[in-house]
């Protein structure tokens, strides 16, 4: 029942938001985020033994409304709750057109995300997967930049095609369960594992395309930079910190355990694609001048690394993913907040027109440096812990090419340092440029960033809580 609350609270608050006129809706969003965070925190603390909840739904299709809160689900729910709270706090003073609809849709997308992370039934998972997308589609198309309509539409169609492929795969799997049709996770796992390797191989493609588009993995990433650039920043945060995790989460929950032979067959190919993505995206990031595009490409590189580790088949890599899923969500939220503040102060995201933040807005500059360094995985930040384990995992991978993989992927770190330091240099240092609004951090922005930075430093020094939470899942994923 407690799991259902995670879905119900944002859902009810979201629906209510549409009715409320004026700025009261912000308060509602804040209350809802706090409540969700409290529940997510409670679930996380008790996730040592997974919590289950189910309700009969459509028996003749073999589907139940069943939810499961194990370590991984709980962690991602917690991340969703934290990010949502930070978004609400740091946008407190920002006027937005038609706040009711805006916050309503934000909360509904949170509902979808929670559902995806908690679903323990294939069809329920699919439904939430789609439902998380719809509000985001409206958010981007309504509040985004100039080219928002085409860009968002491309994004929508792209991911929709992927989801439909996944649906075909899921239906196929549900029919294979012995005896009756069933979508329950254990049944799907049993059905998948019992299939002949050849069937698993093409079934893998159906499912993986959906997840790869969501993450996104090269060459399915083309929707991503445009969409991130054109979306309003709060939505970009939802997309990059949370929605891409849906893809990775789905790989871990609905692919690796379900189709072991398919995974064994394709894992090298996937890792190669991921590594191409890392190098390619990092190189493009180096030449970007638009801050949003730079971060968008750096996010492709980071997700690529996580996905590569997922297919490396090593234990430490799996731990790394768990840690890094959370950390990446936190760091990239911080990055986007910084971008939106810079855009707000200077009226531009073009790095060539920025500079001198350290003298004009020193607090902001400090935050920017800390978050950026976490983003390139400097020791003592949370990024380091995650990336170290990911690389270690790639190195210890089961593939015969594991060393090559690690070395080439390692280029990503160097390139990452190049574009990030370059960005810091161009924005924080150099000649001071004129600000449109000459103001350092306001109280609410301060609070939002403080949460982020506190988490960065805390998890950089002591990542154990995350590892403890997810150890059950990792040991199940890697035998």
């Amino acid at each position: 029942m407690i799991l259902l609350l995670l879905i119900l609270i944002p859902f009810l608050a979201g629906v209510l938001s549409f009715v409320i006129k004026g700025d009261g809706v912000k308060g509602l969003a804040l209350v809802s985020s706090l409540l969700t965070l409290a529940v997510a925190g409670y679930v996380s603390m008790n996730s040592g033994t997974p919590i289950y909840w189910n309700m009969p739904w459509i028996p003749m299709l073999g589907t139940q409304f069943s939810l499961a809160g194990d370590g991984m689900s709980a962690m991602l729910c917690l991340l969703t709750a934290i990010v949502m709270l930070v978004v609400v706090i740091s946008n407190w003073n920002k006027p937005v057109e038609r706040p009711g609809a805006f916050y309503g849709l934000m909360l509904l997308s949170q509902t979808g995300l929670m559902g995806v992370f908690l679903a323990y039934d294939g069809l329920v998972f699919y439904m939430f997967w789609e439902l998380a997308l719809i509000p985001v589609y409206f958010l981007c198309s309504q509040w985004g930049g100039e080219r928002r309509i085409q860009v968002t539409f491309k994004f929508f169609v792209y991911t929709f095609v992927g989801s439909l492929m996944m649906l075909a795969g899921l239906i196929f799997l549900s029919v294979q369960t012995q005896g009756v049709t069933s979508y329950a996770w254990p049944d799907i796992v049993r059905a998948g594992a019992s299939l002949p390797p050849q069937t698993q191989q093409w079934l893998f493609c159906l499912l993986f395309i959906a997840f790869a588009i969501k993450m996104p993995i090269f060459p399915f990433h083309t929707w991503q930079p445009d969409t991130y650039e054109q979306s309003p920043t709060p939505v970009t945060i939802i997309l990059s910190a949370l929605m891409v995790k849906m893809g990775l989460f789905a790989v871990l929950r609905w692919l690796l355990p379900v189709l072991p032979d398919g995974v064994a067959f394709w894992s090298d190919t996937v890792v190669v694609l991921c590594i191409i993505g890392i190098v390619y995206a990092s190189l493009i990031a180096i030449v970007q001048t638009d801050l949003k595009r730079l971060i968008a490409y750096s996010s492709i590189a980071h997700m690529g690394l996580m996905c590569a580790a997922a297919f490396s088949g090593s234990h430490v890599g799996m731990h790394g993913i768990m840690v890094q899923m959370f950390n990446h969500g936190i760091n990239i939220t911080g990055m986007w907040l910084m971008v939106s503040m810079i855009e707000n102060r200077w009226g531009t995201r073009d790095m060539t027109k920025l500079g001198g933040m350290a003298s004009t807005a020193p607090k902001m500059a400090i935050a920017l440096v800390i978050i950026s360094l976490a983003n390139i995985a400097l020791p003592l930040t949370n990024g380091f812990v995650g990336e170290f384990m990911l690389f270690n995992g790639l190195f210890q991978g089961t593939s015969p090419y594991h060393i090559t993989f690690m070395v080439v992927a390692g280029l990503g770190i160097i390139f990452g340092a190049v574009y990030t330091l370059n960005m810091i240099q161009k924005t924080a240092y150099g000649n001071a440029t004129e600000m449109v609004i000459a103001k350092d951090l306001s109280a609410n922005e301060y609070l939002g960033l403080a949460i982020i930075i506190a988490l960065i430093l805390f998890l950089g020094v002591y990542p154990q809580p995350l590892l403890d939470m997810t150890s059950g899942v990792t040991s199940m994923l890697v035998k």
Binding site: I58, P59, M60, L61, Y126, M127, E130, L131, I134, F138, S141, Q142, R148, I149, F153, F156, V157, F160, V161, L164, M165, L167, A168, I171, F172, S174, V175, T181, L206
Partner: protein, 458 residues
């Protein structure tokens, strides 16, 4: 059985009502009452018939089972909803309002026969009773050249396909010596007479015409576009579902044992229907014409139920018929409120009439197959039926890709409503209309959340 008799009597009453009742509004009210009466008769039929025992009538010409009664009741319910939503618009079409309603009741009578025929002659009679009122309805706007063109085109092509159907039935009779559909289930795939096979293929073509499957779909866009919009809404939904039920009954019930012989032809027809319907719909500028192509595309999905040849297909066709009918009638209702039927006519609707835009969005979601709407469950059931069949996964994947294309043209309407500026010209929308639209919208969501409610009767 009671329903068929009731539909005939009520249809005749409606016809003569035009003499007694002069006021158009009273005619609409009378028609609504009669249709609800018909719905009552259907429900009475379900309640009084024992669940397990199918009943035969007229020397086994008709065989009414649980499934057909349930289908009849649901489709009659959809017709009631249709008349409530669209009744006012039907008034505006021409001067003989009572006759239009009489024709609609006759179409229902044809539907009842098609859902329970057990003899090829009844199939033929059912198809004719279903089609002839449609020819008339298509041309009911007599002063409009497009409407007359639609009627003529529909009539010529329709009679042609009826001829093919008759020829198919004849060949089949020649091969088997029987009109009774129960006797066809003894046909064997390996000893199938070429005469019988040609008959079956001719029947596929004729029924394919009625459900507007490619390449027999050519009439659809012109007829649906040219007919008065209220009647398009009916022809594209309930009347089409009736043709589908006839198709399914014959092919799953009687020709199921020889499915290997006709499977390939129907698979190709399905793929072609999906491809042509979806791709052509992308290029339309008028929403009404887009909906005509979308009805072809949706027919492609319903064909999956025919291909599946299993028990789930029966459920699939019911859910699909209901979900598609409700959403399409809803969207046509909104369309009729607009003065401009192009996409641009929808520009800025969300600002002017937020509620109208919202319900339209839900209807479009349903047609596109977004979860939690009826359309998703409908697509899900037919695809699930096809996947269970075992050999059709390629076609299922193809169908899903086509569903992704359909998002393009359905979402264009949403984009126009929400993200484009404009001041759409509207006919007045009353509070009652809005209430009914919200009710329809809730129904769409209910089908998506609890499809089992619509399958309880079988």
């Amino acid at each position: 059985m009671k329903a068929i008799i009731a539909a005939t009597i009520l249809g005749i009453i409606m016809m003569f009502a035009s003499i007694m009742v002069k006021n158009k509004s009273s005619v609409v009210a009378l028609a609504t009452v009669l249709l609800f009466l018909l719905l009552g008769v259907n429900i009475w039929d379900i309640i009084t018939t024992p669940a397990t025992q199918p009943q035969s009538f007229f020397n086994n010409m008709l065989r009414v089972d649980r499934f057909s009664m349930w289908f009849n009741a649901l489709m009659t319910g959809c017709t009631c909803l249709y008349v409530l939503l669209v009744g006012k618009e039907i008034k505006k079409v021409g001067s003989h309002v009572a006759e239009y309603f009489a024709l609609i009741i006759f179409i229902l009578c044809g539907l009842y026969i098609l859902s329970s025929y057990s003899n090829m002659l009844m199939l033929f009679i059912g198809i004719e009773i279903l089609s002839i009122p449609q020819y008339i309805l298509a041309g009911s706007d007599k002063k409009n050249l497009k409407s007359s063109e639609a009627a003529l085109k529909y009539f010529l092509m329709g009679s042609f396909s009826t001829g093919i159907l008759l020829m198919g039935i004849t060949l089949l009779y020649g091969a088997t010596g029987s009109f009774n559909v129960a006797n066809f289930s003894f046909l064997q795939a390996d000893t199938l007479n070429p005469l019988a096979l040609s008959g079956i293929i001719l029947i596929v073509i004729a029924l394919g015409f009625k459900v507007s499957a490619a390449p027999m779909h050519m009439w659809t866009p012109d007829v649906y576009d040219g007919s008065p919009t209220p009647f398009t809404a009916y022809m594209a939904t309930v009347a089409k579902a009736a043709a589908f039920i006839a198709f399914l009954k014959l092919f799953t019930g009687s020709f199921g044992s020889i499915s290997s012989r006709w499977m390939l032809v129907v698979s190709i027809i399905t793929a072609a229907t999906l491809l042509i319907g979806n791709v052509t719909a992308v290029f339309q500028q008028s929403v009404k014409r887009m909906l005509a192509y979308s009805s072809i595309a949706q027919a492609g999905f319903m064909l999956f139920a025919i291909l599946a040849v299993n028990a789930i297909a029966w459920q699939g066709i019911i859910i699909y018929s209901v979900a598609y009918t409700v959403a399409t009638i809803g969207i046509f209702t909104v369309l009729m409120k607009l003065k401009d039927y192009t996409y641009d006519g929808f520009n800025g609707l969300a600002k002017k009439e937020p509620l109208l835009a919202f319900v339209t969005t839900i209807f479009l979601f349903s047609l596109a197959g977004i979860p939690l709407t009826g359309g998703f469950m409908a697509k899900y059931y037919v695809l699930y039926a096809a996947v269970s069949q075992g050999h059709l996964l390629w076609l299922v994947i193809f169908g899903l890709l086509m569903a992704a294309i359909s998002v393009y043209y359905y979402f264009r309407v949403i984009i126009a409503m929400y993200f484009k500026q404009g001041d759409p010209e509207l006919h007045p929308v009353s509070g009652g209309d809005k209430f009914l639209l919200v009710l329809t919208c809730l129904l769409v969501i209910l089908i998506g959340i609890a499809p089992q409610l619509f399958l309880n009767g079988i």
